[in-house]
């Protein structure tokens, strides 16, 4: 894909694989059947998904009142989870697109799984705006379609409507990007299989045959998609942050939100990729493809974004003080000293203090350290959204309306269910689709590089 790599650089795939060996390795999970741990994982995910499904059905049947919301706190876990999942959904396309544009070769081992993670995370995210509606069966009203009401369109000024466009565009483009990347590998699997699987993969691979005439245009298309997806990644969380930034509520009404949210999203997204990859490389035996060097690289990005997030926290506090706006000042003091202060403290601990450990190479290269850190970062990032959303709402302008919010089992179950959905999809993906971008790894494999012609002339 690019010019020869400097021999000083270590190769990104260990073990001196031949091309055929790479094919074997990548297709192995599909062909030899899953390990027992896969069944356990899927079983647990399906259980969580089922719990989520039951509580969501109960909630839609009975009403949003089954949640702990009230007249003052109209959003809490629902939108917290939404922003959380959208944030996670950032790393996938980011790894794929931006690292592609920056010619970061190490993306190839993880980009497929990261993109899949994006899609599943956006699915989980999309669930929440849908079920948080009082009348979700009317959700189609948010689309501007011709109707018999006048026609009555939608409110193009509403950040929530921007969300609708941003999230659905992001989902469609991410899914397309992922699917496009899958074609060569689908063809690989097709060519190795028989019977029904051959048929299915035959249809899915759209008749891809590795023709160079296709490859040539494919690369252009992939580059274009990457170029489009990169600003899209930034726009999505920017627009999600508009939900809050354009409002009038102290603690929400903040111009810093777009970059703050985007960095937070990348931060949490990379943490989630690390969580998944550390599990997957073990369970799917991909240690040679997803190497410690991959983890190390991701840790560096995580550390960087953690610093940016910490800067944002500081800036927020400074601006609240500097603005002289008493409501704004109180909103932030209330985060620190108010009834939800434990959440704020934990958030700072997880997002600012814990990642400092990643300054050390020994930590970065040790999955046993990185794994808990990545989990803590995700906890912290969930709390960040909770602190922004709920803690700003529960005490806003008029003290008469101040009140507390406590989640119910329905909200907790729904959150659990979203993890169930996410991991169920991810486990199925690992089992039934090539989890590593086979053709891309081949292109950067030692074999390919050693047998590459230096440009003539």
């Amino acid at each position: 894909m690019s010019a020869r790599v400097s021999p000083l650089r270590e190769p990104w795939v260990d073990g001196g694989k031949t091309l055929a060996r790479i094919t074997e390795d990548v297709c192995a999970p599909l062909e030899r059947g899953p390990a027992p741990s896969w069944y356990w994982g899927l079983g647990a995910s399906l259980t969580a998904l089922l719990i989520g499904k039951i509580v969501v059905v109960h909630q839609i049947w009975t009403g949003i009142g089954t949640w702990g919301l009230n007249k003052t706190v109209g959003w809490s876990w629902d939108i917290t989870n939404f922003v959380f999942w959208v944030g996670i959904g950032h790393a996938g396309t980011l790894i794929s697109a931006i690292l592609f544009l920056f010619r970061q070769k190490w993306r190839t081992s993880i980009n497929r799984a990261a993109e899949a993670m994006t899609i599943f995370a956006v699915m989980c995210a999309g669930l929440f705006p849908l079920i948080h509606m009082g009348r979700p069966w009317l959700a189609y009203w948010v689309f501007p379609y011709p109707n018999e009401l006048g026609p009555l369109w939608v409110n193009f000024r509403s950040p929530l409507l921007w969300d609708v466009f941003a999230i659905s565009t992001y989902f469609i483009i991410s899914a397309t990007f992922w699917y496009v990347g899958l074609w060569p590998d689908l063809a690989t699997v097709r060519d190795r299989s028989q019977g029904l699987r051959k048929k299915i993969f035959g249809v899915l691979s759209l008749g891809w045959d590795g023709s160079h005439r296709s490859w040539s245009r494919y690369e252009t298309m992939y580059l274009l998609l990457a170029g489009l997806a990169t600003p899209l990644v930034f726009s999505v969380h920017t627009i999600v942050s508009f939900d809050f930034a354009t409002s009038v509520i102290p603690g929400w009404h903040t111009t810093i939100f777009p970059p703050y949210f985007v960095c937070g999203a990348i931060f949490s997204g990379f943490a989630m990729v690390m969580t998944l990859m550390i599990i997957a490389r073990k369970v799917m035996r991909f240690e040679e493809y997803i190497t410690l060097r991959h983890i190390d690289a991701m840790c560096k990005i995580t550390l960087l974004t953690s610093m940016i997030v910490a800067l944002a926290y500081g800036t927020e506090l400074f601006m609240a003080w500097y603005s002289g706006n008493p409501y704004e000042q109180f909103a932030f003091l209330n985060r620190i000293y108010g009834p939800y202060r434990a959440g704020y403290a934990l958030m700072v601990f997880c997002n600012v203090l814990v990642p400092q450990a990643l300054w050390f190479k020994a930590v970065r290269r040790n999955p046993l350290w990185v794994f808990p850190i990545s989990i803590l970062i995700n906890v912290g990032m969930w709390l960040e959204r909770f602190v922004i959303i709920t803690v700003s709402l529960h005490r806003d302008y008029l003290p008469s309306s101040w009140t507390m919010y406590y989640p119910t089992y329905v909200e907790i179950g729904t959150f659990l269910g979203s993890f169930g959905l996410f991991f169920t999809c991810f486990f199925l993906f690992c089992r039934f689709l090539p989890m590593i971008a086979c053709s891309e790894v081949k292109a950067i494999s030692t074999f390919a590089q050693e047998n590459r012609e230096t440009p003539r002339g």
Partner: protein
């Protein structure tokens, strides 16, 4: 695609493929296509492929999305049904930006992919060409329309074997 017969050379690495391609083209053979497990750089020049239309199409689709979004939002807000929403002007411009951006990306992205599929005539159920030669695994395949004469066939066969082909054989597009 119609049922056609090819003469194919199968290589084990891109280096040999590139060399064979150059040689064959210089020898005047018309290369049907090459089939590789990953995109081989240098093949464009080797096969003398023309520049693709895709970037221009991408731009056009993006522009269409942008135009549609802006015009539709303006039409709704200013002409079809102006409404006083939060005291803002009917055609408040900053509010147009997010959706205009999203639709630009959406149209450009989908348009590019669809253009690609149309240009390459890829669709669900299409039969891959030259399947079974391992091009999706580890082989690099160079395909020629089977030369008309036995002699040319022999020349090509030799040329390919000389350039490192693991094997040379007849194949059909189906």
């Amino acid at each position: 695609m119609a049922d056609r017969d090819f003469l194919v050379g199968v290589f084990v690495c891109e280096q040999d493929l590139l060399a064979a391609t150059h040689a064959a083209r210089e020898a005047g053979f018309k290369i049907h296509d090459a089939y590789t497990p990953y995109p081989v750089h240098g093949m464009d020049e080797a096969m003398a492929l023309p520049k693709t239309l895709l970037p221009r199409l991408c731009f056009l689709f993006g522009a269409a999305g942008l135009l549609l979004a802006v015009l539709f939002q303006c039409w709704v807000g200013l002409i079809d049904w102006p409404m006083n929403i939060g005291g803002k002007s009917f055609g408040a411009r900053p509010a147009l930006i997010p959706i205009a951006f999203e639709l630009t990306v959406l149209f450009a992205g989908l348009g590019t992919v669809i253009s690609f599929l149309v240009l390459r005539r890829l669709f669900p159920g299409r039969e891959p060409e030259c399947a079974g030669l391992g091009a999706s695994d580890a082989s690099f395949v160079l395909a020629f329309a089977t030369p008309e004469t036995e002699q040319l066939r022999g020349t090509l066969n030799r040329l390919l074997l000389e350039r490192g082909a693991k094997s040379v054989r007849e194949a059909s597009s189906r």
